[in-house]
């Protein structure tokens, strides 16, 4: 059954998809080993999303332990904070746009150690590709 992006149901499906993905597991062996590999995704309104939405992801050693919608990033301690608007995130979740290309081209702002993303690009891509392993619906459509 398709789940709405973004929502807690979508986060639950994403967590399952990541933890069942051999590509995520294999390429993420070193992720978060000696650094904070957790993410906050800040989705700015637009394209059907009417308010800023935050998703929080905890990932280490190729496994996702937490994926949830949060009211704000206050109190969280992510290693990476990714900001973009809803249409840009939607394109990545759909598989229409490469996440790393979006970061390099400035569609997403990333705060965090860029060299870790460079070094673990295969893992980052595998996480992004796991979006396409389950069906989603989107706001504004």
């Amino acid at each position: 059954m398709a789940v709405l992006y973004p929502s807690q149901e979508w986060c639950d499906a994403w967590k399952d998809a990541m933890n069942n993905s051999e590509a995520v597991r294999e390429n993420g062996k070193n992720w978060g080993a000696d650094f904070n590999g957790n993410f906050v995704f800040e989705i700015a309104p637009g394209g059907g999303l009417d308010k800023t939405t935050y998703l929080y992801l905890e990932a280490k050693a190729g496994l996702c332990s937490v994926a949830r919608v949060v009211d704000s990033p206050i109190g969280l301690d992510p290693g990476f904070h990714v900001t973009g608007d809803y249409p840009a995130f939607k394109n990545v979740v759909r598989g229409d746009k490469d996440f790393i290309e979006g970061v390099v081209r400035g569609l997403f702002k990333v705060k965090g150690d860029m060299s870790k993303i460079m070094r673990n690009a295969k893992f980052v891509r595998a996480v992004a590709n796991s979006f396409t392993l389950f069906e989603a619906t989107y706001l504004g459509e």
Partner: protein, 419 residues
């Protein structure tokens, strides 16, 4: 108070990610390279200090994998020229020889690596090695004992001076020849991209060939490193290819296309040289700014004396002008959809020689003038300028030297027919 980050850098073209990657390299350089920078000059033969540092940047920070396809384990970064300019600037600020070694690791592979002329088969064969956990380095073997500029001067010499040959033998190429001076030769390279001809003396562009040769192939041998005036982190030796046999598929493309896409690598070398000069000039700016602020002459800081302000002004202008020019050309290379010509267009090779020449002259002038105002401190190693002064001369002598850069730039702008 302005810093080196206030010099021209168009934020609409250089994303925060790429800029922050540059800052990561800067932090790495300050923490890991600066404490040993003075020792690097003595490490020119064995690379005992340099080798581990290359691994830290190319493997641990992921730069070797930056442009390889995801399927081969790479990061597949877009806008390669912009990314290269940021990387090279930051590393050259620390040590231009080290920057040279880093960026030249993939330079020879460019014709097979970048879209739309990527050779996926070769990327899948060699990509996992470049993108793996062990250091794997490339070397672009172009220059020969009798000529370097002549090899690059394809518009007039048309490859007729290339002595290194690739002879077809069934399913293999047999490579014979002698190269000299390429970056990352000697004990550094794991993989050579060898500039060859399939017919000695030929001016037919179809006879120009680029062939990959793993460094451990039977028949490949290298000489001892040359001790240069600078750029000790860049190892340069002779390389001999004595009946070296490699699979046919190791030719990057084929007749005509090898030369066509090699021109992109040459144009990138020109623009990258400018980035290198800018990185050096930015460190010179930092050093001379501090020096002229702290040095008090006749009751006031040296920078408050008008003759000194003349020098300081000139250095700032050299950095600004070279930066503006470089970013424009980087943008043109990355966005053929806007500018209308492909990054391997011969016209771009020619006009980017002008940028490289300007950058060579600018960094030479900046280093020399800064030294003038530091006096004896300028030629003492501890104060940082004399290393850049020695290193920058090498930047000016490569990519055909000032002669070829002058001719090809004039050829482009003035439609020269005989030069």
């Amino acid at each position: 108070m302005p810093t080196i980050d206030d010099f021209v850098r168009p934020k609409e073209w250089v994303s925060d990610f790429v800029a922050d990657l540059g800052k990561s390299l800067r932090r790495w350089g300050e923490e890991r390279y600066m404490p040993v920078r003075l020792q690097v000059d003595e490490d020119w033969q064995e690379h005992k200090i340099i080798g581990p540092l290359l691994k830290e940047v190319l493997v641990d920070l992921g730069l070797n994998a930056a442009f390889f396809p995801a399927e081969a384990g790479g990061t597949e970064m877009p806008d390669p020229m912009t990314m290269c300019c940021v990387i090279v600037e930051e590393l050259a600020r620390i040590d231009s020889g080290f920057a040279t070694s880093c960026i030249c690791s993939i330079w020879g592979f460019i014709p097979a690596l970048l879209k739309p002329h990527r050779n996926m088969e070769l990327c899948m064969e060699f990509g996992p090695k470049f993108c793996g956990d062990k250091l794997y380095m490339g070397c672009h073997a172009m220059t020969e004992p009798s000529s370097g500029a002549d090899v690059e001067n394809f518009g007039r010499m048309r490859g007729k001076t290339i002595q290194t040959t690739a002879t077809a033998d069934g399913d293999h190429w047999i490579i014979n020849g002698h190269k000299i001076w390429p970056t990352n030769s000697g004990t550094v390279a794991d993989l050579y991209t060898v500039v060859c001809t399939t017919k000695k003396g030929s001016t037919d562009p179809n006879d120009f060939a680029l062939v990959m040769v793993p460094a451990d192939t039977e028949g490949v041998s290298t000489g001892n490193p040359y001790q240069k005036c600078g750029m000790s982190a860049d190892m340069n030796t002779d390389i001999w290819f004595d009946h070296v046999k490699v699979p046919k598929r190791y030719r990057l493309h084929g007749p005509g296309d090898d030369l066509k896409y090699w021109k992109r690598a040459i144009a990138m070398g020109n623009v990258g040289s400018a980035a290198m000069a800018i990185g050096v000039m930015k460190n010179v700016y930092e050093i001379i700014k501090k020096w002229t602020t702290e040095r008090v002459i006749a009751g006031k800081p040296l920078k408050e004396h008008s003759i000194c302000a003349d020098m300081l002004s000139e250095i700032a202008m050299l950095i600004e002008s070279t930066s503006a020019w470089m970013w424009q050309y980087a943008r043109e290379m990355d966005r053929p959809d806007i500018y209308g010509w492909e990054p391997w267009d011969e016209r771009f090779v020619l006009k980017s020689r002008g940028l490289a020449l300007h950058a060579n002259n600018a960094v030479e002038r900046a280093c020399s003038r800064a030294m003038d105002f530091m006096g004896s401190y300028g030629y003492a190693r501890e104060f940082g300028i004399e290393k850049h002064w020695r290193d920058q001369k090498v930047i000016g002598l490569w990519m055909g030297g000032k002669g070829l850069k002058t001719l090809e730039n004039a050829r482009y702008w003035y439609d020269l027919e005989t030069l």
